[in-house]
């Protein structure tokens, strides 16, 4: 059973989320309302996942995000799932630089139990869970000349799901493709975008995102 520390300043949502995690079969070991309390709770309980609202007291700006980055630095191995009211692609990017085991979801998304469970499991396993809207924002706001044009429509769908952090099987399920076909598409995408192939899910996501944001990925 996943152990979770939840940080959300609105009592209303905190209650709702606790109930939801309960239904999802996770255990909320602490539910707090601001960033300093979150840091203390994470150090005390060492949870599998910290679920964190971006905007929290004390300053009501991105306190949650900064606390999350701090957690990743000081308590390695804690997965972080950020919740936000808005699509903020740069917030997600900040978080992604801290390595695997991170997620960024819109609050509307978590109401769906399936999506929440899925995201929790993925980040707890060291993967990535990005909200489709965040990915869509990355796709639409990029400015560099467009090798994406070279991708077939199917390949673009696969790329979007990859950017969200989905594994090959999940991509195959979502698009009703066989695992072999998915692998073929992915190989074609990496080839067309000039990305180094990678089997590691998170590294793969990072490569895709780095490419989408316009910074050339490091060949690792």
């Amino acid at each position: 059973m996943l152990r979770i520390v939840l940080a959300e300043d609105s009592l209303l949502l905190r209650e709702g989320l606790v109930r939801l995690f309960d239904e999802a079969g996770a255990q909320v070991v602490a539910a707090v309302g601001d960033a300093p309390e979150l840091l203390a709770a994470v150090r005390e309980y060492r949870p599998d996942v910290a679920v964190v609202d971006v905007r929290m007291p004390p300053t009501f700006t991105d306190d949650g995000l900064r606390a999350a980055v701090e957690i990743r630095r000081t308590v390695p191995g804690t997965a972080v799932l950020m919740l936000s009211q808005y699509v903020e692609e740069s917030y997600a990017a900040d978080l992604l630089t801290t390595g695997g085991g991170v997620g960024y979801l819109l609050k509307d998304r978590v109401a769906k139990l399936g999506e929440l469970t899925d995201a929790l499991e993925r980040v707890a396993a060291g993967g990535t869970a990005l909200d489709p809207e965040v990915v869509a924002a990355l796709f639409s706001t990029r400015t560099r000349r467009d090798p994406l044009e070279k991708l077939s429509p199917r390949e673009r769908e696969v790329l979007a799901l990859m950017a969200e952090g989905r594994r090959n099987q999940a991509i195959g399920r979502a698009l009703t493709l066989s695992p072999g076909t998915v692998e073929k598409h992915i190989a074609a995408i990496f080839d067309k975008l000039g990305l180094p192939p990678s089997a590691d899910d998170h590294r793969r996501v990072l490569a895709v995102l780095a490419w989408l944001r316009g910074t050339p990925p490091t060949a690792s």
Partner: protein
């Protein structure tokens, strides 16, 4: 803001009739001497007294007071000039306005326009002595000469007393004497109108030179407009930020939670557990009511429909009724009396914000809102008998108010000594900003 723009009032009716103009100018020239003597005496003794006491500190208030007196005479002279010439003077500007508190003595002494006023009081005196004498000669003297034949008869003439004509040309005929004097009278009276106009122009020119400072006034006006603009921008940004925050913390959270609950209900219905779903539904109905209420409160905070539909008085009455602190509303504006929408919005915002502040911080048992409008200003006053201690710098609400009011070139005064009472007073000009609906339209 340190400037005032006190010259927007319209001048006396332009281009008065010739006869009326002459009479006014005559009155202006005649009354100039007594006024000039008074101004000269006051200013000279004030300057002498103040300067000699300057070594002791008391000289400063004496000089500042002298400036104050000179300013009163200057204001009087400006009105007299505008009345006599029928034309508006260029604007003037003082660096210091308002009552002469000790803290402002020094600033008052350094105000260039105050020194110009003082200089005018001194210089105008000799000018006025001359213009007064010439006016007297041309009018009373002219009449006297013209009627010389009528009144000179009974006056006994002896050898020692010879007329002007006799002195100059040795002509001592009585008829020639009368003829000469009458001719002088005719000439004087015939040139009275241009003479009076000319003398008026001399005095008015002096006033225009020393009592107006268009460049400084325009600079002050520019500064004031720039301040107003800056305030408007700041107020706008603050309002938007607050609106976003309120939306985020209120309805948005409720709708997210509602969404969560709806999904849960769907799951429970799917799993054939309607009883547990039912519990959630009750909860959700409450959430959706609350979200609606919050949205309503928010939109009312921006611009309540009643303000747009029925005007300021109705909106203030509603705000007063909604306040948790009992409010008495003393309104001297009529129901349905409309002002420019920028004026109405600002006034409403000030009132509702001040009331909210009073409810939150003052602990007051009662508030009073009073509003009245004169020809060009809307006066709004919100007073509570709470614990006071409110300050523009403390919290954001009051600073936001000051910005909002400055944006429409109004003024906001907050007095709130510790222990109360707190009084928020706003004066909002009815024209000059936004569309001009004007009072009573």
């Amino acid at each position: 803001m340190d400037g005032t723009w006190d010259d927007t009032r319209t001048a006396a009716p332009a281009a008065p009739g010739r006869q009326g103009g002459f009479r006014r100018q005559l009155g202006y020239l005649y009354s100039g001497l007594p006024v000039g003597i008074a101004a000269f005496v006051v200013v000279v003794s004030g300057l002498a007294f103040g300067a000699s006491l300057l070594v002791l500190v008391v000289g400063v208030p004496v000089l500042a007071g002298t400036h104050g007196m000179a300013r009163v005479f200057a204001g009087h002279e400006r009105r007299r000039v505008e009345n006599a010439t029928g034309r508006t003077l260029p604007p003037h500007h003082y660096g210091v306005t308002g009552p002469l508190a000790p803290t402002r003595w020094w600033a008052a002494l350094r105000d260039p326009q105050a020194w110009r006023d003082t200089a005018h009081a001194l210089l105008a005196f000799p000018v006025r002595v001359i213009t007064f004498s010439l006016t007297l000669t041309w009018t009373v003297g002219g009449l006297g000469e013209l009627t010389y034949g009528l009144w000179s008869g009974p006056i006994p003439r002896d050898d020692g007393q010879t007329g002007l004509l006799d002195l100059m040309f040795g002509v001592s005929s009585r008829a020639a004497d009368i003829g000469f004097h009458t001719a002088v009278g005719v000439v004087l009276l015939a040139t009275t109108v241009p003479m009076v106009r000319g003398l008026t122009a001399v005095q008015a020119g002096l006033a225009r030179w020393l009592l107006t400072n268009e460049a400084a006034a325009l600079r002050a006006r520019t500064r004031q407009l720039a301040d107003g603009r800056r305030s408007a921008v700041a107020a706008e940004a603050q309002t938007l930020r607050r609106l976003e925050r309120d939306l985020h913390d209120g309805p948005q959270q409720r709708l997210v939670r509602l969404n969560m609950d709806l999904e849960a209900v769907a799951r429970r219905l799917d799993s054939e557990d309607p009883a547990r779903a039912r519990v959630l539904v009750d909860d959700m109905i409450t959430q959706s009511h609350e979200a609606l209420a919050e949205l309503r409160a928010l939109s009312r905070g921006i611009a309540p429909p009643v303000l747009a539909d029925r005007g300021l008085r109705a909106a203030l009455a509603q705000a007063a009724g909604r306040s948790p602190v009992p409010v008495t509303l003393a309104s001297e504006i009529a129901d349905g009396q409309r002002f420019a929408s920028a004026v109405e919005n600002t006034a409403y915002f000030v009132a509702s914000e001040a009331l909210a502040n009073a409810a939150k911080h003052s602990g007051a048992p009662r508030c009073e809102v009073s509003v009245r409008a004169d020809r060009d200003t809307l006066h709004l006053r919100i007073a509570d008998d709470g614990r006071g201690g409110a300050h523009i710098g403390k919290g954001h609400g009051l600073a936001g108010l000051a910005d909002r009011v400055a944006a429409v070139e109004g003024t906001l005064e907050i007095t709130s000594p510790p222990g109360g009472p707190t009084v928020v007073a706003a004066a909002i000009p009815l024209t000059g900003v936004g569309e001009d609906r004007g009072p009573g339209a």
